[in-house]
Amino acid sequence: MKRANDPIFWALFGAGGMLAALVGAALVFVTGIAAPLGMLVSQDLMRYQRVLGFAQHWLGKAIVFAVIVLFLWHAALRIFHMLHDFGIHAGTGVKLVCFGLPLLSTIAAAYWLLGLGF
């Protein structure tokens, strides 16, 4: 069972880490600093109609889903191993939090994205 699962988690970890390295800084800067302050980018870059339209397009959905879900799985695996380094070892509770929460978030993200329609 462990042998069968590990490669999936490590693939998600690697994909999330690579995506965060390639686009993370730009996204954080735009969504958290530039757009809220109306600096460098149009202040209504993130207005409702535009973001809704983006998230209703299949490619927009794929991008939003990939960013949220892969970032979460990447972080989950690191946090899981970091807890071990801090002396909190893998048990049912740790696994439930480290892998259950990203799994729930994955399902929620898919549900909300599909709910927005195409």
Partner: protein, 144 residues
């Protein structure tokens, strides 16, 4: 029989309960371990940022009023300052990601010689800076 002998104590001389050296704080004992932990710790803010976006998606699915509430929260000075911290952490993530890349990927040989670690790291960093700038330019060019 005294009460002391009936309550076994964890001592160094006890064969059944051998002394185990504590591993607490091992990562503070060497700058190399500290850098490793700093790299691992970036994941906490990566997760926080993903949750901020996930909340935005939830609000978007609830309609315009809910979504505008999320936008207003992003405009608070505290949120902007916090995103400044997240940005620094992402920059460190990018650097550390490619710093360890030569150790995590299969070795590459060019003309019978192993590709130097620095070449892999710097290629990765340059590509990451270029892709981040590309994304930034695309978002800057979006018309109002």
């Amino acid at each position: 029989m005294s009460t002391q002998t009936s309550t076994p104590m964890r001592t160094q001389g006890d064969k059944r309960r051998p002394y185990v050296r504590s591993m607490d704080g091992w990562w503070k004992k060497d700058p190399y371990f500290l850098r490793y932990m700093a790299m691992e710790a970036t994941s906490v803010l990566v997760a926080v940022y993903a949750v901020i976006l996930l909340v935005g998606l939830a609000r978007l699915s609830q309609g315009e009023a809910a979504y505008n509430g999320w936008l207003a929260a992003l405009k608070s000075p505290l949120s902007v300052a916090f995103h400044g911290l997240i940005l620094l952490v992402f920059a460190y993530h990018t650097w550390s990601w490619f710093k360890v890349m030569p150790k995590t990927m299969p070795m590459i040989f060019l003309g019978g010689k192993k590709l130097p670690q620095a070449a892999i790291t710097w290629t990765g960093v340059v590509v990451a800076v270029a892709v981040n700038l590309l994304v930034l330019c695309m978002l800057v060019r979006v018309q109002p």
